[in-house]
């Protein structure tokens, strides 16, 4: 098992090790400086500021934050124990963010509820990522999207384009609402209502849902087997079945009540991403930082590689216990040679050791995903600066 048993009680002991030897500071610092996150770090209602990566490292290693959140100005209440503290970065201009949480799907998943997830319902996250990623790129023209596993039951998206950071609250809420199709609370049974003409965005989203629907909804969730399909009232006099040949839901309705797009509405209600509009529009909302540790599960909030999306398994994401354990493993011979070089130059040694350290653990591949993301941002920023200097005729 790749998780290695995680015990929350061990967290205070593991965290210092994590920040000393595993946390990818150089990439993280780079990310913070691209974004408009100010160099102010809020701890117990006091400001600490840092201007270099070294300072950031020192501060975080001193504080050993229990949780790292990005976004709002206030910090969490300091806890009694020194070992468990949380810290918050203050956002100046804030990325556009999305938070998809599995509990928002409780009314349509039968396998789990609340904080639980399993491989059957994880498909919902896959679908959500595909739909939203496409829309944010193709419809809205954004390029730099970082998808991160929250560590327990959801995913977050950070849209880091300059244009995204400059969006007003009204614009963020408009984007979030454009992307929302499932509406209604406890009191609403029919949560998706479609009418003519169907917007191209909805058609794109439907084609994603259709790819996964048979395996996810019909087989894994067995929605047609459920006597509790809440559509009963709306479906009076109709029969719902699944057409294997055309891979789609088919509704035969006798009553006039049914809309003409019932079949599509059903698929969307079961599968379409449910996002919390308030998170996306709230300039004061906190979102967990990438590479923070989830205190309940011990899992690291890792970036998700969209090229491997269909094989991403949240249960394979390394926990802090696992990677700390991997650190202890006996080292190969080449490592010992490097050790001797290190003794010559202490500072570089620290850096190199840490790079070697996380590379020896399961964290490595996730840091690579983060690297690629940062490279892309760097390239586009260079491109922008060249454009600007061309305009100013600087050579």
């Amino acid at each position: 098992m790749s998780t290695s048993d995680y015990d929350p009680a061990c967290l205070p002991d593991l965290l210092p090790l994590y920040y000393r030897r595993l946390f990818p500071f150089s990439q993280y610092y780079r990310w913070l400086s691209y974004g408009g996150v100010s160099k102010n770090y809020f701890q117990n209602r006091e400001y600490q500021s840092f201007t270099t990566q070294n300072e950031l490292e020192k501060e975080m290693q001193k504080m050993v934050p229990y949780k790292i959140d990005i976004g709002a100005v206030y910090s969490h209440r300091p806890s009694q124990h020194n070992a468990v503290k949380s810290g918050t970065f203050q956002a100046l201009e804030k990325e556009l963010v999305f938070d998809i949480d599995m509990t928002d799907y409780d009314d349509v998943r039968r396998c789990c509820s609340a904080a639980d997830i399993c491989s059957k319902c994880w498909t919902l996250m896959t679908i959500a990522i595909r739909i939203l990623d496409r829309a944010l790129r193709e419809d809205f023209g954004f390029h730099h999207l970082l998808w991160v596993y929250s560590g327990r039951r959801g995913v977050h998206c950070w849209v880091c384009d300059d244009a995204a950071r400059k969006l007003s609250v009204a614009a963020r809420s408009a984007v979030a609402e454009y992307l929302s199709l499932v509406k209604g609370g406890e009191e609403t049974v029919r949560k998706v209502v479609l009418s003519d003409p169907i917007h191209p965005f909805i058609n794109h989203s439907l084609s994603v849902v259709e790819r996964y629907f048979q395996q996810y909804a019909i087989v894994d969730q067995d929605i047609l087997g459920s006597k509790e399909i809440k559509f009963h009232n709306s479906l009076e006099g109709s029969s719902v079945s699944y057409d294997l040949h055309f891979s789609c839901v088919s509704v035969k309705s006798n009553s006039k009540k049914g809309g003409q797009y019932f079949d599509k509405e059903i698929m969307l209600q079961y599968c379409y991403p449910r996002l919390d509009v308030n998170v996306s529009k709230g300039v004061n909302h906190l979102l967990k930082s990438p590479f923070s540790v989830h205190p309940k599960t011990g899992r690291i909030s890792v970036p998700i590689d969209l090229k491997e999306l269909d094989t991403f398994d949240p249960f394979e994401v390394p926990t802090i216990s696992l990677i700390c354990e991997e650190l202890e493993k006996p080292r190969a011979e080449e490592a010992e040679e490097d050790d001797m070089k290190d003794k010559e130059n202490e500072q570089e040694a620290g850096e190199r050791r840490r790079i070697r350290d996380y590379k020896r653990t399961s964290l490595a591949k996730y840091v690579k995903v983060f690297d690629r993301f940062l490279e892309a941002m760097a390239r586009s920023r260079k491109g922008e600066m060249l454009k600007k200097s061309d305009l100013q005729k600087d050579f």
Partner: protein
């Protein structure tokens, strides 16, 4: 940047100043007017905005019925006079409505609805004139581009048929209302707007300008307020709209926590009854529900200590232990009472606010049940609360016509067993106060005043603003209140 817009100062000569019936209110009026004109213009515009608001609640905006009724309100004075009054009265009301977030929001909303109605009313030639006059140019999509996008454009623009109609493309940030409702095709960050939707873009522009202007006006307000002639008038103008906002707590501590269960059945409007029940059953409410219900409770007179005890005792029965409550939730209760953070004293939500903002999603219990519940579920709930079948049908009819506040009023009438509520519902705390009054036998039942008969009647019970200014201002403004008796 494909989108270009330049603004020039409009010439201020008499001829040019009012040469179009519609304007963006970019330049304040420079003339001198008498105090009487100052008052009358302001009051008339306020009356108009109030009518816009009421029509927006009782009719579907921009429907034929809506337009006809609004037509009837616009009086028949000379065009020039009309335009002059329009100009001046708008700026006067800016002074009165710039001071708080709520006032600004209301003013912007009604001015936008009014502007939209008037823009749509324009002949297409006048629309183009207006756009040119205000230097609003929107890029047109080239014919080849249009051909390649044709199917997609048709699919996203409701009712758009042929290829002859002009399309414009603008960055999506300039077309937020269309984006939000997916009424427009988006590609690479650009929105493709059919010509007939241009009003939405113009409105967006209008709203942005007005919002900025109000912020600036608020900053220069102290200078205006020091003028003794104007200060009472402006103050009265803004209170006249608001009436009771239940921000000032009366009867603090008169309600005990033990009474709440019983009160929720007798005197709470349906939304609060619903929230209370969900809280009791789940021992938890999410943020939206906590705000809506928590502020309501503050409005009925719960003290901060009572509120803390109330929420803590309920949450502790659920998954939250007392320690966690004190750390996480107590802060936000104190916040509601203005004891933390910005220390703003939050006001309980009005019906408008509940109906129009923050719709509930999965796991939420807030909102207006008449607006946000499925009719079937609403019906069941009303049956459980022993409302008669004919009463339920009346309510459902009102809901179908989107008259949510009237539906709630009908619920009041049915549960209190009266023919007429005797008041025009616009606030959950008002529902509570009226209910308590009725149940303690302290009020006469009045006939509902029809909207069309408003200024003639002068019923005995008048909602006076909670902060009276000088007596003189009261007398001068005496007739302002009667403009609002259509409620």
């Amino acid at each position: 940047n494909r989108f270009s817009r330049r603004k020039k100062l409009i010439g201020s000569s008499q001829n040019d100043l009012y040469d179009h019936c519609l304007q963006f209110y970019g330049q304040p009026p420079l003339e001198n007017i008498s105090l009487t004109e100052f008052e009358t213009f302001a009051v008339e515009r306020l009356k108009l905005l109030k009518t816009v608001e009421n029509l927006g609640v009782s009719c579907v905006k921009n429907s034929e019925q809506y337009t006809k009724k609004l037509d009837a309100e616009i009086s028949r004075i000379s065009e020039y006079e009309k335009r002059r009054k329009d100009h001046i009265s708008h700026f006067i009301l800016r002074l009165a409505y710039c001071q708080t977030e709520d006032l600004r929001r209301w003013f912007i909303q009604q001015e936008m609805d009014l502007f939209r109605y008037r823009f749509n009313d324009l002949h297409s030639k006048h629309k183009t004139d207006f756009l040119h006059k205000n230097n609003l140019k929107y890029e047109t999509v080239s014919a080849e581009e249009k051909k390649s996008l044709q199917d997609k454009l048709i699919a996203s623009s409701y009712g758009l048929s042929g290829t002859k109609v002009e399309e414009h493309d603008v960055p999506f940030q300039d077309a937020l209302d269309l984006v939000r409702t997916r009424k427009v095709y988006l590609l690479a960050g650009n929105a493709y707007i059919p010509h007939h939707e241009i009003v939405t873009i113009v409105l967006n522009d209008f709203r942005t300008r007005l919002s900025k202007a109000l912020a600036m006006t608020a900053r220069s307000l102290p200078a205006v307020q020091s003028d003794e002639r104007l200060q009472p008038l402006l103050s009265h103008l803004s209170h006249a709209y608001v009436g009771q906002d239940y921000s000032i707590q009366k009867n603090i501590g008169k309600i005990s926590l033990e009474q709440i269960d019983a009160l929720s059945g007798k005197s709470f409007p349906l939304c609060m009854r619903h929230l209370h029940k969900a809280l009791r059953e789940n021992h938890h409410l999410r943020h939206g529900g906590r705000m809506q219900y928590g502020l309501f409770l503050k409005g009925i007179g719960l003290s901060l200590e009572q509120a803390l005890q109330f929420w803590r005792s309920e949450f502790v029965k659920g998954k939250v232990d007392a320690d966690k409550f004190d750390k996480a939730y107590a802060y936000s209760v104190r916040h509601m009472f203005g004891k933390e953070g910005k220390r703003t004293d939050y006001t309980p939500y009005s019906c408008m606010k509940v109906i129009l903002s923050n719709p509930p999603s999965q796991g939420d219990y807030h909102g207006c049940p008449f607006r946000h519940s499925d009719p079937e579920l609403l019906k069941q709930k009303l049956q459980n609360y022993k409302v008669s079948p004919s009463g339920i049908n009346q309510i459902l009819e009102l809901v179908k016509g989107m008259h949510y506040q009237l539906a709630c009023q009908k619920y009041f009438e049915l549960t209190h067993n009266v023919e007429d509520a005797g008041f025009s519902l616009n606030h959950p705390n008002q529902y509570f106060t009226e209910s308590q009054k009725l149940l303690s036998g302290g009020r006469d039942i009045k006939k509902e005043v029809d909207m069309s008969q408003r200024s003639q009647e002068n019923p005995a019970s008048v909602t006076r603003p909670s902060q009276a200014n000088s007596k003189q201002a009261h007398e001068e403004m005496g007739d302002l209140d009667s403009f609002f008796q259509d409620e």
